[in-house]
């Protein structure tokens, strides 16, 4: 066993600063978009009185859900005692905080009155899942920040398991809250299912671990730090299981919906004849988000390929974004059923599939939030020792954490 040595990344290369500059440009574009949206109004976005949540929410909810899942690796190490993952726990916590901040930034800047953030922090309606989420999100940043501190401060290492467990439970509740934002919408046929809460939790496992793997591989490659095959392949297998889990929940969700006659119209729209939404569901969420990664991860030809891990993880991310678009935008595109069973029409687009086309400012704001998360990660890696000097396998090269209590090689 060896002691894990963490070290900041040098951050002096042109590649590092080039990436920082690129991400800063995206953040600036996002802020500019938010400024225009606030000063001119949401009229410059594709959002309407029919589709009230748009592209910013797709990115924001995706990042928030992924943030929860990015904590997977730290939880596996701290809560479930798998020592092999302890070297990666700090990076896991950092990603969780950064992704959440990126997602929340988008949500706040998309508000009709972002200047009233202080109102949102001082006026609460505790019957609102949104109000709960304000506490859950800010609390998650605080708990995970404390968790990172406990992991990084040698004198506090003994509390790692306790604080890690708190963070683990917190993120489960957080994602339950995020899924419930949609699950509680009883009047909208494409939502209104309690299963959306656990489905979002499994989605978070998948999206978060995919982003973690991409960042880990990029960071190790960019800094020349070794990354062991066994660790990578174990995490890859875990991601495959999570991707399969998302497919299972989607199956259960839609079968439940199809069983209820009142939802069959919405289901036919989303699954069969919804145009872009049907395409995004089958090609995006199902194929890219689930089937392709599993094939890449487990087919004999690619199962040991690092490139396949990268491509599979990227596929999960793209599929996840497609699923989020399908859930958020597709769910609103389907008209409300105010007069069930009747044909309706009005000047307010009753009874018709609502049109939505994302605008440039919306995309800029969404991508700006993603860029902010990545920028925070890049800067944090340079400022503090989040990344181990090497992530070698436990086959004779395993690590114990700096103050790890167990010296046994971990097994995933």
């Amino acid at each position: 066993m060896s002691v894990v040595h963490y070290r900041e990344i040098a951050g002096r290369s042109p590649g590092y600063w080039g990436l920082v500059a690129l991400l800063t440009a995206f953040v600036a574009a996002g802020l500019t978009a938010a400024w225009f949206m606030e000063h001119i109004g949401h009229i410059i976005t594709g959002m309407t009185n029919q589709v009230v949540w748009g592209m910013p929410h797709v990115f924001a909810v995706f990042l928030i859900v992924a943030a929860s899942g990015a904590l997977n690796v730290a939880s596996i190490a701290s809560v479930f005692g798998k020592v092999a993952y302890k070297p990666l726990a700090r990076l896991s916590g950092l990603l969780a905080v950064a992704l959440l901040i990126g997602g929340l930034s988008i949500l706040v800047l998309d508000l009709g009155r972002p200047d009233r953030l202080v109102v949102a922090m001082t006026h609460y309606n505790f019957r609102s899942i949104f109000a709960w989420n304000i506490f859950l999100y800010t609390g998650f940043v605080a708990v995970t920040g404390f968790y990172l501190w406990v992991m990084m401060e040698r004198r506090l290492n003994r509390y790692t398991r306790m604080v890690g467990t708190a963070a683990f439970l917190w993120r489960l509740i957080l994602t339950t809250g995020t899924g419930s934002i949609f699950g509680f919408l009883v009047a909208r046929a494409p939502y209104d299912e309690a299963i959306m809460a656990p489905m979002f939790i499994v989605m978070s496992f998948s999206f978060g671990l995919a982003i973690f793997l991409l960042v880990l591989m990029a960071a190790c490659k960019g800094t020349g730090r070794p990354l062991g095959d066994v660790t990578l392949m174990r995490l890859k297998n875990l991601l495959g299981v999570f991707a399969a889990g998302v497919l299972y929940f989607l199956l259960a969700f839609h079968i439940t919906k199809l069983y209820e006659a009142e939802f069959r119209g919405a289901e036919a729209f989303l699954l069969l004849n919804g145009g872009i939404y049907t395409f995004l569901f089958w090609f995006g969420a199902v194929f890219l988000g689930g089937v392709l990664p599993m094939l890449l991860f487990w087919l004999p030809q690619t199962r040991r390929s690092r490139a396949a891990v990268g491509w599979g993880s990227a596929s999960v991310v793209v599929g996840g974004l497609a699923l989020m678009y399908d859930i958020i935008i597709g769910g609103q595109a389907w008209p409300l059923s105010i007069f069930p069973g009747m044909h309706v029409s009005s000047s307010f687009y009753d009874g018709v599939v609502n049109f939505y086309a994302p605008s440039l400012p919306e995309c800029a704001l969404g991508l700006g939030g993603c860029a902010l998360a990545m920028l925070l990660i890049l800067l944090a890696l340079r400022l503090l020792p989040f990344l181990p000097e090497s992530v070698l396998d436990d086959s004779g090269e395993s690590h114990s954490a700096v103050a790890g209590t167990s010296t046994a090689p971990g097994a995933a």
Partner: protein, 270 residues
């Protein structure tokens, strides 16, 4: 007292156009209005003679102007769809004119009230129905609003407190009736009695300044004047009110009654 809290949770002083309009000329609402005037006078007399009697009087007719909204009153609307013709949009025009919103046909334009053409595909039965905020007793918009900006007055009127609305639009997602609109651009020519705000959500207020001044909502007045008198406004808690009497005599439905929201707006003939 929180200075951010507007006084809108209390009854506001009578304002707005139509103050000079004669409600007595309106057959559908005349009875209710007359009754309320009489009860108002009776209340004043009773106030002088016996405070106990005045409480009984106001329980039947709502609270006086300037007083807090009372839970003894539940304002509601009954719409007789058989009298509502597809070509008539008097209620929509009156609401737009009184409250200062404009629909120019864009998907971002607000519509506090709209006419929905409803037809049964299996029978061909059709109706033209005005749809607005249903002023639910168990309002989903109130439940989901994170700041409490969506709120229900004691007398059942559901409103948006523009001072603390952050523009998250969750209420629009939650409303089963698509009754709310988001202000997507700068506004001009606002009505002082119906303040609106870019970046906040809005919807039918049941013309709360008029109601608090003892008048009926603009849509009801216009329907009586220009339409077929299809709308009846009144106190759902008052067994003697025209709306309660009509509801007792004819079957009326709530939209999406399956959700058990206990709407303040009811429809006859659907």
């Amino acid at each position: 007292m929180n200075p951010l809290k507007p006084r809108s949770r209390r009854r506001v002083a009578p304002e707005g156009p139509g103050d000079g309009m004669r409600d007595s000329a309106l057959p559908q609402v005349a009875c209710d209005q007359d009754r309320r005037r009489v009860l108002g006078i009776a209340g004043a007399v009773a106030l002088a003679l016996a405070p106990g009697l005045s409480l009984i009087a106001y329980a039947q007719s709502g609270s006086p102007a300037g007083a807090a909204a009372s839970a003894r009153t539940r304002w509601g609307l009954l719409i007789d769809t058989a009298k509502c013709t597809p070509s008539c949009t008097a209620c929509v025009t009156a609401c737009s004119s009184y409250n200062g919103w404009k629909n120019e046909g864009r998907p971002t334009d607000p519509q506090w009230i709209r006419k929905v053409q409803v037809s049964d595909p299996s029978t061909g039965f059709s109706r033209s129905v005005p749809v607005m905020c249903q002023h639910c007793a168990n309002a989903p918009c109130v439940e989901v609003c994170p700041t409490g900006a969506s709120f229900k007055r004691a007398d059942g009127i559901v409103l948006v407190d523009r001072h603390i609305c952050i523009g998250c639009r969750y209420c629009m997602m939650a409303c089963p009736y698509k009754a709310r609109s988001f202000v997507s651009e700068n506004l001009s020519d606002q009505k002082p009695w119906a303040p609106r705000g870019k970046g906040t959500v809005e919807g039918c207020t049941l013309c709360v300044p008029r109601v608090d001044a003892g008048k009926v909502p603009a849509c009801v007045e216009a329907c009586a004047r220009e339409g077929n008198g299809a709308m009846t406004f009144g106190d759902l808690n008052d067994p003697a009110s025209p709306i309660r009497r009509a509801l007792a005599q004819h079957p009326a439905v709530q939209l999406r009654a399956d959700l058990l929201l206990d709407t303040g707006v009811r429809y006859e003939g659907l």
